[in-house]
Symmetry: C2
Subunit: 477 residues, 2 copies
Amino acid sequence: MSGETDLSDDARPDDIRSDAAADLEDLALDEDYALTAAFVEMVIDAADRGDGARLAELVRALRPADVADLMGFLTGDYREQIVPHIPADALAEILSELDTNIREEVLEIVAPATLAKALEDLDSDDAADVVDDLDDATRERVLAAMPAQERTAIEASLAYEDDTAGRLMQREVALAPQFWTAAQALDYLRQAGEALPELFFDLYVVDPAMRPVGAVSVSRLVRTAPETLLSEVMEPVTDIPVDMDQEEVAYIFDKYHLISAPVVERGGRLVGQITVDDVVGVIQEESEEDMLALANVSDAGRDASMFGIVRSRLPWLVVNLISETVAVSAIAIFQDEIAKIVALAVLLPIISSLGNNASVQTLAVAVRSLASRELNAANTWRVIWREVIAGIANGLALSVIMGAAVIAFYHDWKLALTASIALMADIIIAAIIGILAPLALEKLGRDPAVSSPIIVTFTTDFVGFFALLAIAALILT
Amino acid sequence: MSGETDLSDDARPDDIRSDAAADLEDLALDEDYALTAAFVEMVIDAADRGDGARLAELVRALRPADVADLMGFLTGDYREQIVPHIPADALAEILSELDTNIREEVLEIVAPATLAKALEDLDSDDAADVVDDLDDATRERVLAAMPAQERTAIEASLAYEDDTAGRLMQREVALAPQFWTAAQALDYLRQAGEALPELFFDLYVVDPAMRPVGAVSVSRLVRTAPETLLSEVMEPVTDIPVDMDQEEVAYIFDKYHLISAPVVERGGRLVGQITVDDVVGVIQEESEEDMLALANVSDAGRDASMFGIVRSRLPWLVVNLISETVAVSAIAIFQDEIAKIVALAVLLPIISSLGNNASVQTLAVAVRSLASRELNAANTWRVIWREVIAGIANGLALSVIMGAAVIAFYHDWKLALTASIALMADIIIAAIIGILAPLALEKLGRDPAVSSPIIVTFTTDFVGFFALLAIAALILT
């Protein structure tokens, strides 16, 4: 287990670390590269003893991403003790790795001048991300302490909307005119120095209006005959508009297996590039959002306080309480039937549970298919139809089992028939609402994962309750 | 909208395509780069008319990933008509983009010799993926028709277990001994030709035993003074053991922002490399798996048949029916109470719904935290404790609302007290089981997302039903 090949500038003073530090790192991470409980214990011990030298040693043994992890495993008090021991040249990268709520806390401790110095090491997108978390007063002071060029880059980045390509991109780009030869391009790369990104994969070929017309990968460039024109070896590129939503950007990178892509403003002028490592984070984020939304919970972030957890869940539970209160009105109408046949009260939750489960199955598949564009205008009707047919098949199978179970327990074929018909109706409705709710939300420009669970739960419960009791009223009493 | 910067060998004969083809592509994709319904219509029309020339033209206007998408939007009959019109040199890449169940279908149509020829263009990992889907007889014939070197590479790849680093890696690697200078390395890259991957990002530096000791990014190499030794500029690398699970690999790439990493066999010898584009697919896959598992549905794959959909859902629904039948036994015990106070039958589904919702919230957050290693041995107890406290807070808030609602509807403070206590108990149990179930499954080496929903639903329902009715029996009757 050793260091990393990293996109960002990861220069640490002790790149060739001492054996002791290497041993510490081995102790810090288990075979899965996750922080060990033993190491976290060591940090807590050192902090409890107030042993600053030991804390500094422990923190220095870790890579930035692991320091960020460590912070997540500690409580606020311990974090405060550790921050002063973070090496100045690792601070920026650790900050860009931290979760937002922990980062905000750390930023309050760090002096603006120290922060300004640290941020100069980051690519413009990562630096902007950190600055965005500062309160207004601190932000002014930090930006004022930075060199004009870096400040401008960060301010330009922050001018783009959250979650757009503009925020995701870095402004540092390697580019060349199309009339250059491979040899000229290599000479330029050798001499450009500071203007280039730390690490890059493609040299963008631009026309005189700075519009990208192609790209040559660096690994292709070094294998190209020196006198060859870039325009002869370049490959087509996929332009990313600067205002494109990051979810869209992730979809395009994933679909076409892009490693980097030029970002263009209106009119096609190149303004930056997005690299795949930025996109990996977005993909994680977007699919986590969908998963949490389907479970009716907002993202409280890592190490959320108890209050943060309650705030991310209670509102959804209250909405559920209200919608469920409406749904059970279908039961309240038929109280007389239940008083006569108490078995109905036993069957109600079974139908409700199965209806919910069936609708959430359909819903989850629909949300995933919408996110991956497998479900779109080209096949909407076919997918809806397939869901309905599958719903009918599932409903038939389940209602046969349900009917048999009711006969076995209650020896009442009329009650069995009632339960079977109600269950089948509910499973079919579950399939229909499970696919229509996310499609409708998407059509309205809303996130199909958010609110859908409440809608489908309410619908299947109401229909299930009403069907069972109305049929019971007709057949049984 | 133009072409792409692609990792794999995307050479198409018409890289500079005619204007007509470019117009067709504009028509094919909407602004979000998803296939348009209009284009799919055009393909279906051409197929209905039996117009092979038009079909060929339409397919040629698309990039491989879009052809794969198109296949997903069509039914089997239409796919069969299109396959003969796929250009031979695009076939391999289209195959590697297809969903498994569609790929299997297409592979049955393609002649083994054509397939063998096409596969030579792919990197060894992608080729192995395609070959893996062939039935045994066809596989033998395809492999027999390939040159020995490619065949060996594919057979070696298939020898690794599914979902491991060995299957994910490509064997083509750029490497150099540490005593070489930058100039020697560049000369080597220029001349190595076929042995190198189409596209690569890092030159791995190896010791005489072929163990990776560092890496130099190509973009750094071209900026390094010619006489500098590789050992002076190389950065540390993170070795990936060849038998590491792909989920683990994805975690490491994401955590350390890796672009590529060397894969080593036991003893540390370099056997291949994994690049970030392979990992993007894994990340998508793993988080989709979690999302579907939490919704109690197996992945039926794209364009699953009706039967495929039923098979991916019905078993879960049957398990739910059985577990719910057991849970409602708690209601059956107290049928006398319900007969006396029918309002209890109205309250049961509300408590069940809220309990489920609260437990699934906790469950989803826990599954996500386990996947991202935010929750591990270092903080398990703190997270459990936090969930319990949040559960108590949510339970208190909800039971106050519930109590008020019951008083409003039924003017019965004893019934309100009963409902409030039962709901609070259920919400607290929901928090506990929602965190303990996934932790226990993880501890047992099982997937924490699979089975958890059934366990938490059963527990919260049983506890909710029992609490409400037992308290009712004590207080009300």
